[in-house]
């Protein structure tokens, strides 16, 4: 099996520089992670020999956040080594160069998206397109017993940012339900606005939960809500607020029912038995009231089975390997 090398750009911490990680996996051996020192914001900061050496064993390179300057840079360097290059957009911005020179997308032999929205967003890139679902890590997020859940405990997971629609969620919360917002805040003004909205309501914020803490939270909750928006509290328009909806998928893997908005790729999750789509804030409020009043959801096992079948690791892995194999054998 040829080596597939990933180039991933980590999200920056509030103070420290970002770091690029190249992950090379070999069949039959433990995954190796090669850490290249450098700042993805400064493309000249990477040692060229180290980068070439890290890419050398791979037959194909999968570049994440592929439309960013870092993504284009990695794609170009991989192409210069004669590699097949696949790109996936996870957001994080787009290089100005790509907008002006769309033919640069040909750096990628293929672009992979994980939702219909992602496919639409990449429709102007004149390269081969793979549309896969997921993946969600159903091995890390396992089924939790229904009888340990507190129906009246609602959770919202993810970064606390204006396009996550947390303000609308807080406003829609009925009496009798308590809300935990778990995630790091990156916008002090927005957080302050949420604090004000939360006054007098059963809302608490959890920052700094580790993976185990998140799993415990999901295990105890009775409902997960992801109400991202295209227009945030300040009136700003966000084109791609959610390219997948990983948080509600992780929740459903534990058997937790979810409510999502119709922003981004979220409504695509509405086909899953454990997911309902609220088309606006009023409908969100109605659904929350209905939940508090005893709305019946499928059992946790069914919720999980549905989510795993559609978005889980195994189905993604089979499809992904099939695409990579085809790519490596084609003469493109």
């Amino acid at each position: 099996m040829a080596n597939v090398c990933h180039a991933v750009r980590l999200a920056a911490g509030p103070n420290g520089p970002e770091t690029a990680i190249l992950a090379c996996g070999r069949e039959g051996a433990a995954d190796g992670v090669v850490l290249l020192n450098g700042d993805p914001g400064d493309l000249g900061s990477f040692d060229p020999a180290a980068l070439d050496a890290a890419l050398a064993p791979a037959a194909a390179v999968h570049v994440h956040q592929c439309l960013t300057p870092f993504g284009l840079f990695m794609a170009a360097r991989a192409r210069m080594q004669g590699k097949k290059v696949v790109g996936t957009d996870h957001g994080g911005g787009e290089a100005a160069s790509l907008a002006a020179q769309s033919h640069l997308a040909r750096l990628f032999h293929a672009v992979m998206s994980y939702s219909t929205l992602g496919k639409v967003a990449a429709s102007d890139l004149a390269v081969m397109h793979w549309s896969l679902r997921g993946p969600v890590d159903d091995a890390a997020f396992t089924l939790e017993p229904d009888d340990r859940r507190d129906r009246f405990h609602v959770v919202a997971l993810g970064r606390v940012l204006p396009h996550k629609g947390l303000d609308a969620l807080i406003s829609a919360m009925p009496e009798g339900l308590q809300l935990t917002i778990a995630g790091r805040s990156y916008d002090p003004d927005y957080r302050e606005a949420l604090n004000r909205l939360a006054l007098g309501r059963a809302v608490r914020f959890e920052e700094g939960l580790d993976d185990d803490g998140v799993r415990r939270l999901l295990a105890a909750a009775g409902l997960c809500v992801q109400f991202s928006v295209h227009r945030d509290l300040a009136g700003r328009h966000i084109t791609k607020p959610e390219l997948l909806g990983l948080a509600p998928l992780e929740a459903m893997c534990t058997g937790l029912p979810t409510i999502v908005s119709r922003a981004g790729a979220l409504p695509e999750l509405g086909v899953l038995s454990g997911c309902r789509v609220a088309h606006d804030a009023a409908e969100l409020s109605d659904l929350l009231h209905a939940h508090a009043a005893g709305l019946r959801w499928p059992g946790g096992a069914a919720i999980r089975a549905d989510a795993v079948a559609a978005y889980g690791l195994a189905q993604f892995g089979r499809a992904y390997l099939s695409c990579i194999t085809e790519l490596l054998s084609c003469g493109c």
Binding site: G44, D47, F73, A76, R79, Q81
Partner: protein, 424 residues
């Protein structure tokens, strides 16, 4: 072989010897039966090209050369860094012409780093013929060069490409800028002997000096003027200095006039290379107090081949092939030392001076023989063709990747240049 030659400028109009060298090699290789295509930029004088024994396409864009006034930062980025237009033009030529080998001459002004990388990735048997530092004389920020090289994945030296240099001096200078590399051959600036024999000494004992070069400060024009003034003061009007070439002529001749050299130093104009070669035999010595980093200087070879004793700055590349006081006189680059060297020839008995000229000529005709030099160039090309593996990428693939990196670099550099202001 099918040979693609790249040169930022190409005769008939020219600025210096580098583009003349490209022309000579093209003619020589075509004469040896090879199919040659030269890629260069539009003619400096805008005149149509004469009939040539090889194909010439002026599809490249040269944004910086010494006749240009101060260039803006954007021209520097394209001249030294990377030019998308020229990347595309060279890639197209690689596809259309399908060369067996590529010989790169002066790439200054063409986007040096980008072209070097393109050739290393996608050209069959690429060889660089370096006769100057492509970054010399242009405003640049060394840190930006380093940064772009890292972005392009440059491996050091000249990207592992076989390189011919004209002197050990230039090899050291390039190593300091581009990283260490070992040239595969050292080929000096060549010169064909003319039909003119050595002129006999002047009956009145007047020693004939010549200053034949681009007329510029860095070529030592003012050093020559001051040295001549010193000699005039100490030895009287027993010598002459003829000046040939284009450039800052008025500045030099006004300086000569102010120094009282009106009867001694005379401007002769700009001559065709072959015509000048004929004239050189009529002079006893060449004054060449050029800057210490001069990589080669064809005029030194041409003078020596004509039996005109070169008086040269000791450190220059052209002096590496000549022994001091046997084939030339090597000086510090200052008027005192030059004046002393001139005086030594003036005081030398005519017979001894003629013998000196003959020694210089014999040595020069051995080491600067064009046939010998072209043999070496051809040998490097053939050896590279035999040893070099097939290119990793197609020209189109390489051009695509380099184009993307060019755009990404410019996005960042624009902000950096704005922050640091004009560089130089």
């Amino acid at each position: 072989m099918r040979l693609l030659i790249l040169s930022n400028l190409f005769p008939p109009a020219f600025i210096g010897g580098y583009e003349l060298a490209a022309h000579d090699v093209a003619v020589a290789m075509a004469g040896r039966g090879h199919e040659v295509l030269v890629l260069s930029s539009p003619a400096l004088d805008g005149q149509p090209d004469p009939k040539l024994p090889f194909a010439l396409q002026r599809t490249l864009n040269c944004v910086t050369h010494s006749q240009e006034p101060a260039v803006p930062e954007e021209a520097w980025r394209r001249g030294i860094g990377i030019s998308v237009r020229n990347i595309s033009a060279v890639a197209d030529a690689l596809v259309a012409f399908r060369p067996d080998a590529v010989l790169g001459f002066n790439t200054a002004g063409l986007g040096v780093l980008g072209l070097l990388r393109l050739l290393s990735l996608a050209a069959p048997a690429p060889v660089m013929f370096m006769m100057d530092d492509p970054f010399a004389g242009a405003p640049h920020d060394a840190a930006q060069i380093v940064r772009l090289r890292r972005m392009l994945g440059c491996v050091g030296g000249l990207e592992g490409m076989p390189t011919i240099v004209c002197s050990a001096l230039l090899a050291r200078e390039l190593s300091g800028i581009l990283g260490p590399f070992s040239p595969c051959a050292v080929v000096p600036a060549w010169a064909a002997p003319s039909n003119a024999g050595l002129a006999a000494p002047e009956p009145n004992g007047c020693v004939r000096f010549v200053f034949a070069s681009r007329i510029a400060v860095h070529k030592g024009m003012l050093v020559a003027v001051e040295a001549a003034a010193r000699v005039l003061a100490t030895h009287g009007q027993c010598f002459s200095v003829d000046v040939w070439g284009g450039g800052a002529v008025a500045q030099m001749m006004l300086a000569a006039h102010a120094a009282g050299l009106g009867e001694v130093m005379r401007y002769r104009g700009v001559a065709e290379k072959s015509a000048l070669q004929e004239c050189l035999a009529g002079y006893d010595a060449l004054l060449m107090p050029t800057w210490e980093r001069e990589p080669s200087a064809f005029i030194v070879s041409e003078a020596a081949v004509a039996g005109c004793i070169p008086i040269v700055t000791a450190s220059i590349g052209g002096a590496e092939y000549l022994l001091d006081r046997q084939h030339c006189l090597k000086i510090r680059r200052d008027p005192c030392d030059l004046a002393e060297a001139m005086a030594s020839l003036i005081q030398m008995p005519p017979a001894a001076r003629q013998a000196f000229r003959h020694r210089a000529q014999r040595q020069a005709r051995l080491v600067f023989a064009p046939g010998f030099c072209m043999d070496r160039v051809e040998a490097v090309l053939r050896d590279t063709m035999a040893r070099r593996p097939a290119p990793l990428l197609s020209p189109g693939e390489a051009a695509l990747a380099l184009t993307a990196l060019a755009h990404l670099w410019r996005e960042r550099v624009k902000g950096g240049i704005d922050a640091v202001g004009r560089v130089g």
